[in-house]
Symmetry: C2
Subunit: 467 residues, 2 copies
């Protein structure tokens, strides 16, 4: 106990002083990572303070990431996450590229569509038409569900009327969709299943909700169903988060059979499927057909999320959700309490853009350009990296997920840092696993922010580092 | 225990059947609201199932709002909140008015600026200028902090350069600001202080974060400081949420002294102040001067939030935060994981709108129109409702918060329903308190979505109901 003794100052609240002292002990290693902190009463007696003071001090430690409370067992010291550094550097580099549109980097991490192909004059036309047509209403109306015209267009053009406009909720993108769905259905300690590996932005949201996250390994045609059902049998699961096409990061797409089986699970074990329809517009392999979980769902078990920012334009910040009837009220309330409603003018412009057929035209053009780049990247990986990595062709989407071969003596975190020095941004596997170390032998590269020359140049440099 | 016995079916997981059975017991009153449910082991033994099965069943009950878990004590039955009905009806009516722009209602609940005064041609001009100037960049660039030009304009025109553009984060409105700040600083069981009464959208967010909410009563010049410090002495408080001008719903503004004292508290007891600068543009009383917590803050303790949607245009979905240096990284990460970034084109348009002086001009015009309406509403309340209600003149903002006099034998929830029958929407006090019943003698009415005729007409009808 002696380590914990303090000479209290007059001015500062005691719990602040206790917390400060303990942080120091953890930082310098006098209290080890994972070590149990003294029981509240014992420490209170020892320091001649109230129990409440220790409770407050421990709460402060927890808040600042220096302790974890385990219910029924006590409070434990925690050293800051070692993988925080790589995550921070990744985010910072990514931000630098986004903010400055810096050309000095080869950006293999970008996950959105490129700008240079967008016919701006079409967009200017629709936005002026909207302003002339709707006047100030275009800037004032705030429908929680979103502009009715856009919801009608989504229903008509993307779902052939099989989804009603009233079941569609406009959001600012897939990230907001995940956030809003989570707020509506996940409470602290609820159980969530994700794919292993999965999109880190989703993991972040589930962590925020205080959820218990279970991971199920991904195979070539979807998650492993035995592992999946084993979890379902033992735990009440609230939802399963999935990217049905070109899963991020693996690029895997689900087989029809696995989709149907998971839908059966959802009904039997009473959980929801959050389907993040990531990049299904970019199916390049003719053997892959498009059938979302949502389109196969007979029991209203799927919360479907679609972003327009990924494939269309990142700065437009629009997407939509299709919401099960049972959840409609809570998801709407979740939207209101998150940001009231979505920007009105942009919704109207997108609506007209779709109605006029510009959207379809643009996506068609993009698809053909991206297919070329996809083939180029695939070929360079095979030709240049050869057997240093292995991968499965995703057949579409933006990304390739590469496994570093056993004989190559470098992990993907190290590869990330070395690439960064060469001004190449890759996505190291540690980003995509709850337990970061599981990703050490993987990394993801994508072509959307590059061109032929950059792809070749970047992959050649990666090859040198792997040698 | 007998009540709990079940004959299990083969097909359905047992915990689902147990939960279903218990819901029924609670619904029909065989298990009373607040009654302790059987301990896990005892019930497991009785039903011949594993402990895990009961844990899952209780979790499901909790999820569906039929039970509350109290750490270290057990699980308790819960009947659905009686005030849910009034909240739902309020929200639905509010939505109906927003969605349809229905003229049949007298909307005393609106909290945003009215549309009819907005010079749309100015806006069309700036948006076309932006498209011509920035081209596709206006739809692609996604800076996490927000468009740099707009951040510079906010710094220059609203803060005279005293706040740096790099400390400003563009958000989609105050509601998102509260959500993002909460995600960055509040964890489960963290303590938060709010004003009593306070804005229900903020209460909702804090509840989502799993925070313990303490309330401090509002007086004429801010919260009661003794009650405030009493809480601080006993508990480690993470943040204090405040609306410094024309607080919602009371209309109260803080005195300079109270602001300074609370800033001193924040430093001494180590907490943050989330300042929601609600409607400080609308100061009508010449004795009230504008000094935000943020402008008085010497220790970087204030998270300042300002919406452009309230006073400017609701459908534009823009606002900003000023972020303490210590929290910058976590708040930025919170923005990214909430919705990546804010719509790019609208930010550029607003920036140019400010630069060209249109913003200032428009607010000036609004202020003079609103001042007239404010006076009209105040006079009608005094002339028509007379001593049936009492209130303090806020000296600005959109709203009046009225206390129903003791001799009037109607509560504000009943008043709400009766007004709704007459197609008048008021905001009953129950919306603004953690314990809803505290608001039974209060209601809020505002003029922003009305005119002279509607104000008179609406108040006359309220008068009849109160009689």
């Amino acid at each position: 106990m002696k380590t914990y003794s303090i000479e209290f100052l007059e001015e500062v609240p005691k719990y602040v002083q206790i917390a400060k002292h303990m942080k120091k002990l953890i930082d310098v290693g006098k209290v080890k990572d994972g070590e149990k902190l003294p029981p509240i009463r014992k420490l209170a007696d020892f320091l001649h303070v109230n129990n409440d003071t220790i409770v407050s001090a421990y709460k402060k430690l927890e808040q600042e990431g220096y302790a974890v409370q385990k219910i029924g067992s006590g409070t434990y010291a925690k050293k800051k996450d070692a993988n925080r550094r790589i995550k921070r550097e990744y985010t910072e580099t990514f931000k630098k590229i986004m903010d400055k549109d810096s050309n000095e980097y080869i950006d293999f991490a970008g996950e959105t569509s490129c700008d240079i192909f967008f016919p701006m004059y079409n967009f200017k036309e629709v936005i002026n038409e909207v302003i002339d047509r709707d006047g100030v209403n275009a800037l004032v109306y705030q429908e929680t569900l979103g502009f009715e015209g856009l919801r009608r267009s989504i229903s008509k053009y993307f779902w052939q009327g099989k989804v009603a406009p009233k079941d569609i909720l406009i959001v600012t993108g897939a990230q907001q969709g995940i956030d809003i769905a989570s707020k509506a259905i996940i409470n602290v300690n609820d159980n969530v299943i994700v794919e292993k590996p999965t999109y880190n932005g989703a993991l972040f949201v589930f962590k925020w909700r205080g959820a218990n996250v279970f991971e199920v390994p991904i195979e070539d045609d979807g998650v492993n169903l035995e592992a999946f059902e084993k979890i379902l049998k033992k735990n009440y699961i609230r939802c399963f988060y999935t990217m049905s096409y070109f899963q991020n990061p693996t690029g895997m797409s689900y087989s029809r059979e696995k989709k149907l089986e998971i839908l059966r699970f959802a009904e039997k074990y009473d959980f929801y499927i959050i389907e993040d329809d990531y990049l299904s517009e970019l199916i390049f392999d003719e053997n892959v057909s498009y059938e979302s979980f949502k389109s196969l769902d007979k029991n209203d078990r799927v919360i479907y999320i679609k972003s327009f920012s990924k494939i269309f334009l990142p700065g437009i910040r629009l997407g939509y959700m299709i919401v099960p009837k049972k959840l409609k009220e809570s998801i709407e309330s979740s939207k209101v309490n998150t940001d009231i409603s979505t920007s009105s003018l942009m919704q109207r412009a997108l609506d007209l853009y779709i109605i006029k057929g510009y959207f379809r035209e643009y996506i068609k053009k993009l698809k053909s350009i991206y297919k070329d780049r996809y083939m180029i990247m695939e070929n360079y990986i095979k030709d240049i990296l050869k057997d240093k990595v292995s991968f499965k062709s995703p057949g579409g989407g933006f990304n390739f997920y590469l496994k570093i071969s056993d004989y190559v003596k470098i992990n993907s975190d190290e590869l990330f840092y070395k690439c960064k020095n060469e001004k190449i941004l890759i996505s190291p596997g540690v980003l995509f696993y709850r337990n970061n170390d599981d990703g050490l032998r993987y990394f993801r590269i994508g072509y959307s922010q590059t061109d032929d020359f950059k792809i070749k140049n970047g992959i050649e440099k990666i090859n040198k580092i792997l040698e």
